[in-house]
C-alpha cells in the first residue's frame, strides 16, 4: 500500500528509462474498456519490459486479478458492469488480492473522483488524458522502481 501520492511530472521524450529486470518483470493488468486507451497502455508497458495482461470490463478484471495475481492493476473507473471502484473494493477486501497495487484511471479530474478512488482502496490516481511517459512513470513509482 503506497497511500495517496502525487505522481511526478512527465519525463521528457529523451529521458533515460531504466529497464525492467529481465529475469522477473512485474506483471501488470490493464483493465480498460476503451480500445485506444488499452492498446496504448499495453504497448507502452510491454515496450518498457513489463509483462501485461488485459481485461475489458470490471468482472473480468476481478477474475483475472484473482487468478494471475498481477503486481499492479491499472484500473479504469468507468468500465461497464462492475465499475473500477467496485472492482477495487472487491480485490482489497480479499486477502489473496489485497496487496495488489491498484492505480485508478479516470476520465474526469474532479476532486470527488480522486476521493472516491482512495475511499475504494486505490493506491494511486491518474486523471485522463495521461501522457504515456507519465503513465509509465506512475507505474514504476507505484512499484518502487526508479526511472533512471
Amino acid at each position: 500500500m503506497i497511500g495517496a501520492r502525487a505522481f511526478r511530472e512527465t519525463p521528457r521524450r529523451h529521458a533515460v528509462i531504466k529497464p525492467v529486470p529481465e529475469d522477473d518483470p512485474p506483471l501488470i493488468l490493464v483493465a480498460e474498456d476503451n480500445d485506444d486507451n488499452r492498446i496504448i497502455a499495453v504497448a507502452l508497458l510491454r515496450h518498457f519490459g513489463f509483462r501485461v495482461i488485459e481485461a475489458t470490463n470490471g468482472t473480468d478484471a476481478v477474475e483475472v486479478a484473482r487468478s494471475a495475481k498481477p503486481s499492479l492493476i491499472l484500473m479504469d473507473v468507468g468500465m461497464p458492469d462492475i465499475d473500477g471502484w467496485t472492482a477495487t473494493r472487491m480485490l482489497k477486501g480479499d486477502v489473496s488480492t489485497r496487496d495488489i497495487v491498484v492505480l485508478a484511471y479516470t476520465a474526469h479530474a474532479l476532486p470527488s473522483d480522486r476521493e472516491q478512488s482512495f475511499a475504494a482502496g486505490c493506491d494511486g490516481y491518474l486523471a485522463k488524458p495521461v501522457e504515456p511517459l507519465r503513465l509509465l512513470s506512475a507505474v514504476r513509482e507505484a512499484l518502487s522502481m526508479p526511472d533512471v
Binding site: 521524450r13 485506444d36 486507451n37 496504448i40 504497448a43 507502452l44 476520465a107 488524458p129 501522457e131 504515456p132
Partner: protein, 254 residues
C-alpha cells in the same frame, strides 16, 4: 448563456477530448519508438502533431471555460491574495513568447514597490514613493488566468522592439492593473471582447487561437466583481488594458 447550452458544450468537449487523447497517445508511442525507430523527419512530423494537439486541447478548454463564465453558474472561491507575485509569475510564464516577439515587459520596479521579487531590495528607490498594498480577496487561479490573457494579448498587439508596460495601482476605492502594449496598428476595441469578431472587411479581428480569450477574461473578471476594459490611445498608437476592482474599505487603509 443558457444552462442547456453550457451542458451541450461541456458534453461535446468531453467527446472531443476522448479521440484527441487517443490520437495523442498513439503518436506518443510512435515518438517513443515503441513501434520501431523514428527518422528525424518523422520525429519532426510527430512534434507538429503534438503541438497541434496542445493547441486543440487549449481551444476546447477555452470554450468550456468561456461557456462556464458566460453561464453565470461558475462561482470563484475567493481568498486574500497578493497580486504582485501573480503578475510577476504571469509575466515570467510569457518570457519565451516575449523573446520570440522581440518585446519586453516593463514591470520590475512596480514589483519592487510591493517588496516582492528579485528587486525587492530596491524598495527604497526614489522612483518608489510608498509601499504598494496589493492584497485583494479574489480567486487566485481565475485572476492568474485573466492577467495572463491580457498580457498575452498585449504582446500580440505590440511591435518588435517595443515594451509592454505593466502597472498595478491602488487607490482608496480600487485596485487597478494597467497593461499597455507597445505601439502597433489601430485596434477597434469595440470588437475585442466579441467572440470570433470580424472587421468591416470580414477579416478576423483576433490572432489565431485568441478569438475567445478576451471575452473569456472579461466574463471571468466580472464573475469576480472586476471589470476589464480596453482602449486604443491614438496619440501613442498603443492598446491599453485595464482591470479594475473595487476594494473593500477595510482593505484600503494603511
Amino acid at each position: 448563456m443558457d444552462r442547456d447550452i453550457l451542458h451541450l458544450i461541456e458534453g461535446f468537449a468531453h467527446e472531443l477530448r476522448t479521440p484527441l487523447s487517443a490520437l495523442a497517445g498513439h503518436s506518443a508511442l510512435l515518438s517513443l519508438g515503441v513501434h520501431g525507430p523514428v527518422s528525424d523527419a518523422q520525429a519532426r512530423a510527430l512534434d507538429r502533431i503534438e503541438s497541434n494537439k496542445k493547441q486543440m486541447i487549449s481551444l476546447i478548454d477555452s470554450l468550456v471555460s468561456y461557456a462556464e463564465a458566460m453561464s453565470g453558474t461558475t462561482t470563484y472561491a475567493a481568498t486574500e491574495c497578493a497580486l504582485v507575485p501573480i503578475v510577476s509569475q504571469s509575466i515570467a510564464a510569457l518570457d519565451q513568447a516575449a523573446l520570440a516577439s522581440g518585446v519586453r515587459f516593463d514591470w520590475a520596479e512596480r514589483a519592487a514597490a510591493a517588496g516582492y521579487g528579485r528587486d525587492a531590495g530596491e524598495a527604497s528607490d526614489s522612483r518608489v514613493n510608498e509601499r504598494l498594498r496589493d492584497v485583494a480577496t479574489i480567486n487566485e487561479h481565475a485572476a492568474r488566468d485573466v492577467i495572463s490573457i491580457l498580457l498575452e494579448n498585449a504582446l500580440i498587439h505590440s511591435e518588435h522592439g517595443s515594451s509592454v508596460h505593466v502597472c498595478l495601482q491602488r487607490t482608496s476605492q480600487s485596485l487597478r492593473l494597467n497593461i499597455e502594449s507597445g505601439a502597433r496598428t489601430v485596434v477597434d476595441t469595440a470588437l475585442l471582447f466579441e467572440p470570433y469578431a470580424r472587421d468591416a472587411h470580414g477579416r478576423p479581428v483576433h490572432a489565431s487561437g485568441h478569438a475567445l480569450s478576451l471575452p473569456r477574461a472579461r466574463a471571468m473578471a466580472r464573475a469576480m466583481g472586476a471589470e476589464v476594459r480596453a482602449r486604443f490611445v491614438e496619440s501613442r498608437r498603443v492598446l491599453e488594458f485595464e482591470v479594475v476592482r473595487s476594494v473593500n474599505p477595510t482593505q484600503s487603509t494603511g
